[in-house]
Amino acid sequence: MEVRISRDVLLNGVHKVQGIVEPKGAMPILSHLHLSADKDTICIRATDLEIGTLGHYPANVAAPGAVTLNARKLFDIVRELPDEEIYLKKEENNWITLKCGKSKFRLPGLPPEDFPPLPEYSDKPLLEFDSKILKEMIRKTFFSVSPDETRQALNGLLLEAEGDSVSLVGTDGHRLAMISRPVKSNAAKGEVLSFLLPKKALSELLKLMEDEDATFGFSSQDNHLAFICGKQVIVSRKIDGKFPNYRQVIPSDNHLKAKADRDGLTHALKRVALLADEKSKMVRFEIKNGSLSLISDNTDLGTAHEEMSLEYEGEEVSIGLNAKYVLDILNVIEGDTVTLNLKDQNHSCLFTVTDDDQYKSIVMPMRL
């Protein structure tokens, strides 16, 4: 293999896949990238066996072939190189020479044929997303995904599509966020699609979506899902497991509606949460006609109390909520106001925004 490639193009390609590479795994080759050159492109591949990605980049190919290189080292080197053309050549015993300007590196590689192949994926998209919309959908639900590795089904987002509407749902068992948006669907009429998208694939996807106006195709084949955008692909194993029945926990009879200024609530809550119990982050919301009191007491740290006005008429209600869960929501929603839909102190609190009835976030209370 012998290629010339722009430094910026290579840097971009190598940078995007760093998150997938396992620097200290049991298989040394998984800490490497696979580079293959053919015709006028170079293809960069990375995988951790759960997910894999490949991207094609324009290059001047003098001799086709393939190499593997340590992902981290390659990235560190390319990052420091001047903005000139990079020359890559495969030597004997899988060694690689890299030249750029006056710099020259000789790097050891592993046999490219040992690099695990990417699973087969379908390039026929079932759904076609506008990248802006997909990004918004992930951003508004991703925070509620469970970090608990033992709860596999909750370690990702549920994607459901029916007709020309698609929704993403995330939950960690204490809170839930869901969003629905229009989508171009190529699925058969009446078919309902339902997939679990792993967390890691989603965060890699977010990195790929820096390009604002692109279309992302979503496809499924056997045990694998793929997101395809032009010459870039992310393939991921599907999560095994059953996502809980989220529909039954979306409250329909939370008739107490309190509308608060989003900014005001965010800042007040951040202040009061400073003295909340470190672990539970419990803050008491006391809502009565026209006013909301945020209270944190009963901890060794001291007490905090803040009152703010809000639109509310109805019976007094007091509910304990994890401040972090609420702030996560306030952080991703848009608009000047947020509405808390309550039933009582024992039932979940539903957060909604005025101009978007397709976004819902639910937080379970803490028992006082």
Binding site: H174, P244, N298, N322, M364, M366, R367, L368
Partner: protein
């Protein structure tokens, strides 16, 4: 001068109570609030006064009575009874869901008053405490006067009634307060202990449960006086350690000190030295399960929740190892605590070493659990609450071993 100052400090501190203990001159109060939860509700809403009030959730629910006013007790309603049954017995009762937060606020106020009388205040639960007034006579007057002052102050400041038992040790003070409830005060004067105890039924003695009581009854021991007539050798031979403690209790002897609440959260722990050293993980886990149940029961009895679980193993060579894990949420539920203990055990006990002693400790205790509710647990945490309230109720009535986890089967 400095020498005298030091001597004074020495006498006012713990050493004095130890000194007096030797002489049998301690003045111990057992302060027990009357129908505490209900009384707090009455203070907050005076219109409830004298009415049949039950604290413990909605009458349609499946909870249990947490507290009942004396007006309801007449109908046979008592705490720990299922709400539905209470509703049948007294349909016109006022049911309140109650608020642990409010009760702990009032409890804090009660303890503030008690601490004004002595630095040695040992909390037993939200509504119960021992106060050691030994050596406070010159400050507050004779012990009866101080006790009355405490009673009056609690009534005037908080509007709540307390019953106080006064005696020369904790055992007698507790028996006395139970005897004079509600709104009473009883002093067992030094020298009168035996005469007071003798006619009492044995079940009045703390530590004699339903099972022990029944066994003693079979032997013809009905009153504390009967028990006091049994010689030490016989009791020790039949009941071992427990027999020795019975011998002492029947005579009103107890020298356990009043330990004031420290700033640090306390810990609750249980350990057992195995009869024979073991390498059998099944047996060891069973022992662990039993210890967990015991300690968790104690947590719930004290209305506390633990956040940290520590496992302790001592091998046959006396090498001792401990491992801890801190939970995301404080809990007092057996299944959560045992899951954590067992997890620690399985991680730690990997080599086939003979285990001599096994123990657990719960630390980072809190009375304010802030438990996060689950989205997909249909019945919610209240379901577990109901289960453990039920278990505790059964144990209260039929003894601890009347109901156990399956995993405890080899150890019970």
């Amino acid at each position: 001068m400095s020498h005298r100052g030091q001597a004074k400090f020495y006498l006012a501190g713990k050493k004095l109570s130890r000194l007096n203990k030797g002489l049998g001159l301690r003045n111990i109060l057992h302060v027990d609030m009357d129908a505490f939860f209900v009384s707090v509700e009455e203070v907050l809403d005076p219109s409830l006064k004298g009415k049949p009030v039950i604290v413990g959730g909605s009458p349609e629910g499946r909870g249990v009575v947490a507290a009942a006013s004396y007006a309801v007790r007449r109908y046979g309603v008592h705490s720990a009874m299922p709400i539905a049954k209470a509703k049948r017995l007294c349909p016109h009762a006022i049911f309140l869901s109650g608020s642990h937060r409010r009760y702990s606020e009032y409890s804090v106020k009660v303890f503030e008053i008690l601490k004004r009388y002595s630095p040695l205040v040992e909390p037993i639960s939200l509504d119960e405490a021992f106060v050691d007034l030994t050596g406070c006579e010159r400050l507050h007057g004779p012990v009866l006067v101080s006790a009355e002052k405490i009673c009056n102050e609690i009534r005037e400041v908080l509007g709540l009634n307390a019953s106080i038992g006064i005696a020369s040790n904790k055992l007698l003070a507790k028996i006395a307060s139970a005897y004079c409830k509600p709104n009473g005060m009883l002093w067992i004067a030094p020298g009168m202990e035996q005469r007071f105890l003798a006619p009492l039924p044995i079940r009045r003695v703390p530590g004699i449960g339903p099972k022990g009581g029944a066994e003693l009854q079979r032997m013809g021991v009905k009153s504390v006086g009967d028990l006091a007539r049994l010689p030490l050798e016989l009791l020790e031979e039949v009941y071992g350690k427990w027999g020795v403690s019975l011998y002492r209790k029947a005579r009103g002897i107890s020298d356990s000190p009043v330990i004031s609440e420290t700033e640090d959260p306390r810990s609750i722990s249980r350990e057992t030295t195995l009869e024979t050293d073991s390498t059998d993980p099944l047996f060891l886990e069973s022992a662990l399960s039993y210890l967990t149940e015991k300690a968790a029961g104690q947590l719930r009895e004290n209305k506390l929740f633990a956040r940290t679980v520590t496992l302790k193993l001592r091998y046959s060579d006396f090498k001792t190892v401990t491992r801890s894990k801190t939970l995301e949420m404080p809990t007092a539920e057996d299944h959560m605590l045992f899951k954590t203990c067992a997890g620690l055990f399985r991680k730690l006990f990997t080599r086939q070493m003979q285990v001599r002693l096994i123990g657990i400790a719960f630390t980072s205790l809190t009375a304010h659990p802030y438990r996060q509710e689950e989205l997909f647990d249909d019945k919610g945490g209240q379901c577990w609450d109901g289960l453990y309230q039920g278990i505790d109720r059964i144990r209260h009535k039929y003894g601890f071993k009347s109901i156990l986890r399956g995993t405890s089967r080899y150890s019970a």
